[in-house]
């Protein structure tokens, strides 16, 4: 067996370029998968820690309407003997430039739910006169405790004060002691947590009279079970389990995370093509050697395992490298993932990438097993090598060509399968990705026949081409066993990047058009924290009155955006104070504004398209929301296009909202200027009226730009993944084509001996690789478009429920073509350069 291993080793060593680029390609693919996995999972854990980190032993919680839970409810429950409960007031504060979660608790109520430990430095020793600094936790206004890590980061020592900002107002907080990570508070959550007394939290967050929630611990054996609690609760609040809350929020981001994962798996798919290509090449190249080995008595089985072993070794090495690389990538990705989650879902602060064994193991398995699976075909091919009599290359290529019709048929059957699967009326995202995968594989199988056909066509048309060009063209088809696979990898990789680019572009253009129609008021006014995380500040009522009196205003739309409780979890609600003309900005999935307006004014709800999709709601259906006096059934009056929230939004007429929620605040105002007034003038007038109150006053153009910025931020991660996949593809092309040309050394030496100059030969090599690049680039365009249609119509619809208009951006298509061409060109350069330097005799010596 050592002979076999040595032969393997020698072969790999004599093809260092190919080995290295394969290694690197797989490593990069594994890195992308692992990186995405680590970033996703770290973000998920950071989020779950933000729920569980301070939940302790709480099993349930009581939540209320937009403002929270009236604090007197807590008192009433306690005085009725309902214990094992703790009030929580929490919200985000801005410390320097980072958001921190301020959690207000009642230390006297926490006993049954959780425990926090803190440490402090104690000077001197006279215990009798030294109080416990923790004692002031409840009494000292602005006293907080935080983890040592955070304190170090903020450069804060015990006893020092820091300034935090909430809604433009500054508050001074004093560090009382350092929190310790414990059973009820893991390091992750302690990282951006300020713990304080509930009174301080209410003051800083301006939540006098309101609790964010009441945490409960319900024991199965307690005589005050869940039923008793539920009975004791007034209308307007609900009791829900912690796990259901976690579930809902987890679900919220699941589509987003699945999409990232799928993108990363596509990168792996390209990587597998790469392995397949490398191993196929290795087998083809070594046919004489394998034949001799068989002659020496090596069994078929041994040959089979030899090839698999090589693949496994390569895969393992590459995966190891990929894991390290993946960890590095994950750091960057996590920032992007967090950014997106913050923009789209909820506040989450960037945590650290955690080295999760499962994600690492997954990367290792995918990399190594993927390699093995990808080389199953080449390995069985090697096994089939007859002993002694070396099968001619030409006969191999002939056999490949004879199987072309069969391959084409296989690909077509695959495509038919996709079409059939698409007919299944399912909303399963996993099935969607399955279809996508099948489609890509089918197309990959179709690439060699297509290329063969294209080359034949070129040959027939290219009678006038020079000898060298024709030689290059024929060369492609003559070694289809390798060029076919390499091109397929190239096509898949390029098409995938094109598909994603087209999808993102379509999304962006759809959004742009939507913003154009939606943001048609001239000036928007919002509190300063509107754009910041967790900002939910109301506009001052007196200020609103003043602003409404501004001269030059034709109409105003008021908005209040809150989170309410629905039967299926939290839901974004917009209360709109608007008049009929402003209503026309809505574009409805079906029905017209004129028809829907009366139902809307009459108490009907408008729901956004994603909400209709997620909740399977149609016009006329009922949606139950928790109002101030209990559950309120709402009738869906219309479904409108909205790209502002992927979870979906329900919009109510302001009167409807006021009737059921008694929550009079206003978050934003949209002003329509009179015909004769331009928006600059109106902005100045509003500024004057604001009398120096901190406000965001924005012209609609700026707001549009801001929205698009958010969009671009959101899709930054997609772009990065696309670039990474392109990197994998590039390496794949490079390795495949380079190997191809290096393998042709002897053939080219013969040409050289026949009188071709090194320059002519180099030209021939570059022509051939460019030709393949060009064909791949061309083939990838229809495939890329098809992929983008699948992404838009199947994946995106199933994941988010958005309608997007396909926009075929020529620039994206051109870029893909150029990518393929440049990669192929580069792949030809090195062999061409080497050809120019090698001597004919050396190349022929093997003869």
């Amino acid at each position: 067996m050592s002979l076999l291993l040595r032969s393997s080793w020698r072969w790999l060593r004599h093809h260092p370029w190919q080995s290295a680029s394969t290694l690197l390609g797989i490593a990069l693919a594994v890195a992308v998968v692992t990186g995405v996995d680590l970033a996703n999972e770290s973000a998920r854990r950071a989020f779950s820690a933000s729920i569980d980190g301070v939940a302790g032993k709480a099993t349930h919680e009581i939540v209320g309407g937009p403002q929270g839970v009236d604090e007197t409810l807590y008192r009433d429950l306690r005085r009725q003997g309902f214990r094992a409960s703790a009030p929580v007031v929490e919200g985000w504060v801005q410390a320097k430039d980072r958001p921190l979660l301020l959690i207000g608790i009642d230390p006297l109520a926490e006993g049954e739910l959780r425990s926090f430990s803190a440490s402090w430095r104690q000077e001197g020793s006279d215990i009798q006169s030294t109080g416990v600094p923790f004692g002031d936790f409840m009494y000292q206004p602005g006293a907080v405790v935080m983890g040592a890590e955070l304190a170090a980061e903020l450069g804060l020592e015990v006893g020092q004060t820091m300034a935090v900002e909430v809604a433009g107002k500054s508050h001074s907080l004093t560090l009382l002691a350092l929190l310790r990570a414990s059973q009820d508070l893991d390091r992750q959550s302690a990282k951006d947590l300020l713990l304080c007394d509930i009174s301080t939290a209410q003051e800083v967050l301006d939540q006098r009279g309101w609790l964010s929630r009441i945490d409960l611990r319900l024991d199965a054996d307690s005589h005050l079970g869940e039923a008793a609690w539920r009975q004791a609760l007034p209308a307007g609040v609900v009791l829900q389990s912690k796990s259901s809350r976690r579930g809902v929020l987890d679900q919220m981001t699941s589509a987003f995370r699945l999409n990232l994962q799928a993108l990363s798996l596509l990168a792996l798919l390209v990587g597998m093509f790469l392995i397949y290509n490398t191993m196929t090449f290795a087998v083809v190249e070594r046919r004489p050697l394998l034949g001799n080995l068989r002659l020496l008595g090596v069994t078929r089985r041994q040959i089979f395992w030899l090839i698999l072993g090589e693949a496994l070794t390569l895969g393992l090495l590459a995966s190891g490298l990929g894991l390290a690389l993946g960890y590095v990538i994950a750091q960057g990705l996590l920032t992007l993932v967090t950014q997106t989650i913050n923009d789209l879902y909820f506040v989450l602060s960037v945590g650290q990438v955690q080295l999760l064994p499962t994600a690492l193991l997954k990367g290792l398995l995918l990399g190594s097993l993927g390699s093995v699976v990808a080389s199953l075909v080449p390995a069985s091919e090697a096994m089939a090598t007859p002993p002694g009599q070396v099968m001619q290359r030409s006969s191999l290529e002939r056999s490949v060509q004879t199987t072309l019709p069969r391959r084409a048929l296989l690909g077509l059957v695959g495509l038919l399968g996709c079409t059939l699967l698409l007919q299944i009326p399912s909303t399963s995202l996993a099935l969607g990705f399955g279809i996508l995968l099948l489609f890509v594989l089918s197309c990959a199988v179709l690439v060699p026949p297509s290329m063969w056909w294209v080359m034949n066509l070129l040959q027939r048309l290219g009678g006038g081409l020079g000898l060298l060009a024709r030689l290059a063209i024929r060369g492609v088809n003559a070694s289809l066993s390798r060029t076919g696979v390499a091109t397929a990898a190239l096509v898949v990789a390029v098409a995938m990047t094109l598909g994603v680019a087209l999808m993102v572009g379509s999304f962006r253009s759809t959004l742009e058009i939507w913003l154009e129609t939606t943001l048609e008021a001239d000036v928007y006014v919002a509190p300063v924290d509107f754009a910041s995380r967790g900002g939910r500040q109301d506009l001052d009522a007196a200020l609103v009155d003043r602003l409404l009196q501004t001269p030059g205003v034709a109409a105003v739309t008021t908005t209040r955006r809150v989170e309410v409780v629905s039967r299926q979890g939290p839901l974004q609600l917009m209360a709109l104070g608007m008049e009929r003309p402003a209503f026309d900005r809505f574009t409805f999935v079906d029905g017209t504004a004129a028809k829907i307006w009366p139902a809307f004014v009459d108490g009907g709800a408008l729901i956004s398209e994603p909400l209709a999709h997620h909740r399977q709601l149609a016009v006329g259906d009922r949606l139950e929301l928790l109002g101030a006096d209990g559950w309120r059934p709402l009738t869906v009056a219309g479904i409108y296009y909205d790209y502002g929230s992927d979870r979906g939004v329900v919009s109510l007429y302001r009167d409807t909202y006021d009737r059921w929620w008694r929550d009079p605040g206003i978050h934003t105002l949209a002003f329509y200027a009179q015909q004769t007034v331009d928006s600059r003038t109106l902005i100045d007038a509003l500024r004057q009226r604001a009398e120096g109150e901190p406000l965001l006053i924005t012209a609609n153009g700026d707001l549009r730009r801001y929205s698009l910025d958010v969009f671009d931020r959101t899709f930054a991660i997609t772009q990065v993944l696309r670039l990474l996949a392109m990197g994998v593809a590039f390496l794949g092309i490079l390795s495949a084509l380079m190997a191809l040309q290096l393998e042709r050394r002897r053939e080219l030496a013969v040409l050289r001996a026949l009188g071709l100059t090194p320059r002519q030969l180099a030209w021939q090599v570059v022509t051939q690789t460019s030709l393949m690049g060009a064909v791949a680039g061309l083939l990838s365009i229809p495939l890329g478009i098809a992929l983008s249609v699948l992404l838009i119509e199947v994946i995106n619809r199933r994941a988010f429920g958005w309608s997007l208009d396909l926009e075929l951006a020529p620039s994206a298509m051109l870029a893909s073509f150029v990518l393929a061409l440049v990669a192929a060109l580069l792949a030809g350069l090195y062999p061409a350069w080497r050809l120019g330097r090698s001597t004919t005799a050396n190349a022929l010596r093997e003869e």
């Binding site: 604090e71 007197t72 807590y74 008192r75 306690r78 005085r79 009725q80 003997g81 214990r83 009642d106 230390p107 006297l108 109520a109 926490e110 006993g111 425990s115 926090f116 430990s117 803190a118 440490s119 402090w120 430095r121 104690q122 000077e123 001197g124 020793s125 006279d126 215990i127 009798q128 109080g131 416990v132 923790f134 004692g135 002031d136 936790f137 409840m138 009494y139 206004p141 405790v145 310790r180 007394d197 509930i198 009174s199 301080t200 939290a201 209410q202 003051e203 301006d206 006098r208 009279g209």
Partner: protein, 411 residues
């Protein structure tokens, strides 16, 4: 003084109702010094201490200066003095009593409310949770027949009506535990006929499988303890409290234990005390006796124990006649001797039987717990429980029931 100075007796001599908050403050400090790194040995080193945030720590908050101190006798003003005295740092309402069911089953109960302030003056705050006051309460029931004892505690801030106290009409509560003067019938004239403004009141507390609901019907008049309501704890200025007692309160009601409900009646005892000072460093704890004798007299006596094994000379008590007339008892008036010990599951040795004598009156009493384990193992552990009294005055037998509190053991 009438104290026997044998080692056991000296060690076991304790004193007095310098209770709860003070006692707790004292105990917590002791506790902390037991648990932490060796503090006294390294006077200059800064040490790292770690603790779990708990109500106990809130109790240990440094007092802000400015609280009033008890330095002069006090003319009590009822019903206002039943309510809180926020200018003093510490205050408590101590209800204990012995009850008996219709079937003759004996129970003891304790329901104690404590108030401790961090600051003498309120700071204006933007939250209704802000509070200077911490309230806590202990509730314990002793089931003599079943030899079962159960104790519970509550902590709350004196804010948002979660816990609080008021004098007129009398109301005292932490969450669902409360003592409240019953609203007078609408036809009746408002205002208390006895000038006390307390009765009838409803006392209720429940936790675990125990629920107590008592009507407190009437009592002997209040007795001012110490020097006309100034109860001195040591020779230090301000080391004193204002202190009055209602030594015999006729009570009836119901006690539920598990599924069984007992109709009960008996006599309760209320101790009211407020102050600002704490025990001095050499004072380590106290024993407090409240005895209700068959002949209608009530006896209260406490001793403060000191580190050197002696007893605080200022320790004192009172003997209340059937008609409410009171006789002050100084340490010299009383002989107290421990005659048995009991070890708690936690290894703390408590005295468990006493001989108490007032030689001047020829009154000799043997005091014995009706149930050995009446240790409240709560945030702070101490022993408080029902006792049986047997003895004689001259040749006349004198029996009775009572409550004893033993604080400062095991530290």
């Amino acid at each position: 003084m009438g104290l026997r100075q044998d080692p056991i007796a000296a060690g076991l001599w304790r004193a007095a109702p310098w209770r709860a908050a003070l006692c707790l403050t004292f105990l917590w400090v002791s506790l902390a010094s037991c648990q932490g790194a060796p503090r006294r040995g390294t006077p200059t080193a800064a040490e790292e201490t770690a603790e779990t945030l708990s109500p106990v720590h809130i109790l240990q908050a440094d007092a802000v200066p400015g609280f009033e101190q008890a330095t002069t006798p006090r003319r009590f003003d009822f019903p206002a003095d039943h309510g809180p005295h926020p200018t003093f740092r510490t205050e408590w309402w101590y209800f204990v009593g012995n009850l008996e069911s219709d079937g003759g089953r004996a129970f003891g109960f304790q329901l104690t409310f404590f108030r401790q302030s961090a600051r003498p003056d309120a700071v204006p705050r933007g939250s209704d949770w802000a509070s200077q006051d911490l309230y806590f309460a202990h509730f314990a029931v002793s089931d003599v027949a079943e030899q079962r004892f159960a104790a519970f505690e509550r902590f709350s801030r004196g804010a948002l009506d979660l816990a609080g106290a008021q004098g007129d009409p009398f109301h005292l509560w932490i969450e669902d535990w409360s003592v409240e003067k019953q609203a007078p019938p609408t036809s009746a004239r408002a205002g208390p006929s006895d000038g006390l403004g307390l009765w009838p009141a409803t006392l209720q507390a429940a936790d675990g499988d125990i629920e107590l609901r008592l009507e407190l019907l009437s009592s002997k008049p209040p007795v001012a303890i110490g020097d006309r309501g100034l109860s001195v704890k040591s020779e230090l200025t301000g080391a004193a409290s204002h202190y009055y007692s209602l030594t015999r309160i006729a009570s009836r009601g119901s006690l539920r234990i598990g599924d069984r409900v007992f109709a009960v009646r008996g006599n309760a005892w209320l101790d009211r005390e407020w102050s600002t000072s704490t025990l001095s460093p050499e004072q380590t704890g106290w024993d407090w006796f409240s005895l209700q004798l068959d002949d209608g007299r009530d006896l209260m006596f406490y001793v403060i124990r000191r580190q050197d094994g002696t007893v605080e000379p200022a320790s004192h008590g009172v003997l209340v006649e059937t008609d409410g007339g009171a006789r002050h008892l100084s340490l010299d008036d009383v002989e107290l001797q421990v005659v048995a010990d009991w070890q708690s599951p936690g290894g703390v040795t408590y005295p468990a039987a006493w001989r108490l004598a007032i030689p001047d009156l020829d009154l000799h009493l043997n005091i014995e717990p009706r149930l050995a384990d009446q240790e409240l193992r709560l945030s702070v552990a101490y022993w408080e429980g029902t006792v049986r009294v047997e003895g004689r005055q001259g040749d006349r037998p004198v029996n009775g029931l009572g409550y004893v509190e033993l604080v400062g053991y095991g530290f």
